[in-house]
Amino acid sequence: MAIKLPIYMDYHATTPVDPRVLETMLPYFSTEFGNAASRNHPFGWAAEEAVDKARKQIADLIGANAKEIVFTSGATESDNLAIKGAAEMYREKGNHIITCVTEHKAVIDTCKRLEKEGYRVTYLPVHKDGRISLDELKAAISDKTILITIMMANNEIGVLQPIGEIGAIAKEKGILFHTDAVQAVGKVPFNVNDLKVDMASISAHKMYGPKGVGALYVRRRNPRVLLAPIIDGGGHERGMRSGTLNVPGIVGFGKAAELCRQDMATESERLRGLRDYLNEKLHKNLDELYINGSMEHRLPHNLNISFAYVEGESLLMGINDVAVSSGSACTSASLEPSYVLKALGAGDDLAHSSIRFGLGRWTTKEEVDYVADKLTNVVSRLRDMSPLYELAKEGVDLSTMQWQTEGH
């Protein structure tokens, strides 16, 4: 079968909308156009009913109650609402927040903003495997700590944090626990009660739903979490998030959640097989590859590899019929090396020559073969032109080399 180019292997950045999802959205783009807040006529009732159904579908996927789902415009907003909302609401209790250096920008930048407003933030380091240390987490907790926010799965390296253990620690200390679960939900089992999570950010467009819609799970019992809204107005979503509900988007989100729930077990095994096959094939063909982050604690559809002795930009140009990313999509337009890889201890060179492979629902074995072969060719060609690779192969330790620079 001929392969359709370019190949999309960037499912962590975003996913195509599943045709079955789009199908369920269509009526809400035409006849069912009501405002879900219109309580006085059938146009509004139909919209509200559709929203309620989706709320249930999403709650079911994460083991929550439908009333605990707050719809937002996406995970960035969910992260903002969870962190700013809790910080403001629990200010009297304390002003300390614990997070980690490899979080998504939506968490890091929000924490930085709060630091300007007088909050204290601890950014836990990660080990070489990309995971935080529970002992360091415990040591960071003080009586002023009001919130721990640690992501379930990293968007660049796919590494899974020990969320259940973090949840247990937070619960024991009476501290709220938020997790950015964007990359994990719908892909691996995620249950808010098993993991003792108080808040969780989810995004539809990372799980074959539409862009522009997401949710924040907000625990209602034991403890009942209260949040100061960051978007005020008509008091939608139990007062936590105002604004006319994006009915078609929410309907699509609900269907996407239902499909993920049905297919998760088989689909994650299929993708794990393909991912491992890609990894093995690359390792068979090429040397000097460095996998970034733990392979054991990792999303089944993620692979992040640094190709030593090639230049990142040339590498991406060489494989321009394969859509992959060399870092989070949100920062990929900048030339800064990935802060996630640097946090793992990777040097700038290895960070720049890294590629994130995100496999997904429409990834085929043929595509994986194509990508592996293409990379093998391009990396080999680039290395043939690289004096550094040549020196390394001759056994020269490059880290001890004295580089001569022109002295201006």
Binding site: D10, A37, N40, F43, T72
Partner: protein, 387 residues
């Protein structure tokens, strides 16, 4: 016949908009921040829509920041400007008392954080008087927020004049143009404002997207943090298909603004005259002009608005008492109260708002049905009273 006369709550998608969204959902699925083919394709689609929205309000494309809708735009405008201005020592905000909840409740949230706020009462006309704004301005005023057209009664505010007063005192001017866009001409330069909110789903675009126009040079603190999207002004993966839809809706609005607003004004006036003539004890709330062409708000003496709504619904006619956000609360309209209307009129008024699919037949149907329904309800009231 099902009659939908609640276009100020939300509007159906234009067919062209729907087709463009569905196409984008199928084909343009990249993340606009990605450097590869799929990402660049998404970025190009967004840029195209940005130009279309800019053209609709006579702005530069670089001044348009996409948001999740009108409520977020209002929050962003007020909080973002307030936070940026705060270091200068200005800590006073002014808005009209007839603003949408998105503005009123944002002011309330800021007042809990130590901001001074003033709400301007309006005349019975439903128009904000420039004199009242002049009196309310202080050296501390950071921002004035007055909506372009009111969502409940449709009156159009003298924004250019109000903006001049705000600027003379060194304050910024924001206008919520959610209800005026697509109904009357909206020109940011002519209005003389610094910030303008708009929402796609109020003019045949999709729900879940809107924009804030930020005049070049205006200092704003982003309220949504976490990435370099929208020139560092609003973080979050762009809602590409919806933004594409907003762009198409903007182009359609530009093309048929005059013809469509004439058509709606004629329908609305016929509806209004029909009701005033056919049903005794009725009155229009607010002035007839200046007003957006699609809206009328009418009080019915000796009738509970909620009962009339239900009766109309049983006839297949969808209208509302006021904003969708406050529907079902039985609270009297804050807009009608701010206009100083007597208590009974704040409880017995209905909003009829027309739009793209409204027809003469629908107007006829409402005019035909209403007298009977009102008579019946008034009869019930009399019986209850005499019992």
């Amino acid at each position: 016949m099902r009659v939908y006369f609640d276009y100020n709550a939300t509007t159906p998608l234009a067919t062209e908009v729907r087709d463009a969204i569905v196409r984008a959902m199928d084909d343009v699925y990249g993340n606009a921040s990605s450097v590869h083919h799929f990402g660049q394709q998404a970025k190009a689609a967004i840029d195209d829509a940005r130009s279309a929205v800019a053209a609709l309000i006579n702005a530069d494309a670089s001044e348009i920041v996409f948001t999740s809708g009108g409520t977020e735009s209002d929050n962003f405008a007020i909080r973002g400007a307030a936070e940026a201005i705060e270091p200068t020592g200005r800590r006073h905000l002014i808005a009209s008392a007839i603003e949408h909840e998105a503005v009123l409740n944002t002011l309330k949230a800021l007042s809990r954080r130590g901001w001074q706020t003033t709400l301007l009462a309006v005349e019975q006309s439903g128009i904000v008087s420039p004199d009242r704004l002049r009196e309310a301005m202080t050296k501390e005023t950071a921002l004035v927020s007055v909506m372009h057209a009111n969502n409940e009664i449709g009156t159009v505010q003298p924004i250019a004049e109000l903006a001049e007063i705000a600027h003379a005192n060194g304050a910024l001017m924001h206008t919520d143009a959610v209800q005026s866009l697509g109904k009357i001409a909206v020109d940011v330069r002519a209005l003389g404002v610094d910030l303008l909110s708009l929402s796609a789903h109020k003019f045949n675009g999709p729900k879940g997207t809107g924009a804030l126009w930020i005049k070049r040079g205006t200092r704003m603190m982003p309220t949504m943090t976490g990435g370099k999207h929208e020139r560092n002004r609003r973080a979050g993966t762009e809602n590409v298909p919806a933004i594409v839809g907003l762009g198409i809706a903007a182009r359609l609005a530009v093309n048929k603004l005059t013809s469509e607003s004439d058509r709606l004004a004629r329908l609305r006036d016929r509806l209004e005259d029909g009701i005033l003539q056919g049903v005794g004890g009725t009155a229009i709330n607010g002035v007839r002009s200046p007003r957006v062409p699609n809206t009328t708000n009418i009080s019915f003496d000796r009738v509970e608005a909620e009962s009339l709504l239900i009766a109309l619904d049983l006839e297949g006619i969808a209208v509302s008492t006021g904003s969708a956000c406050s529907s079902g609360t039985l609270e009297p309209s804050h807009v009608l109260r701010a206009m100083g209307l007597p208590a009974h009129r704040t409880q017995n008024s209905l909003r009829f708002s027309l739009g793209s699919l409204s027809t003469d037949e629908e107007v006829d149907r409402v005019i035909e049905v209403l007298p009977r329904l009102v008579e019946k309800l008034r009869g019930l009231t009399r019986k209850t009273v005499s019992a």
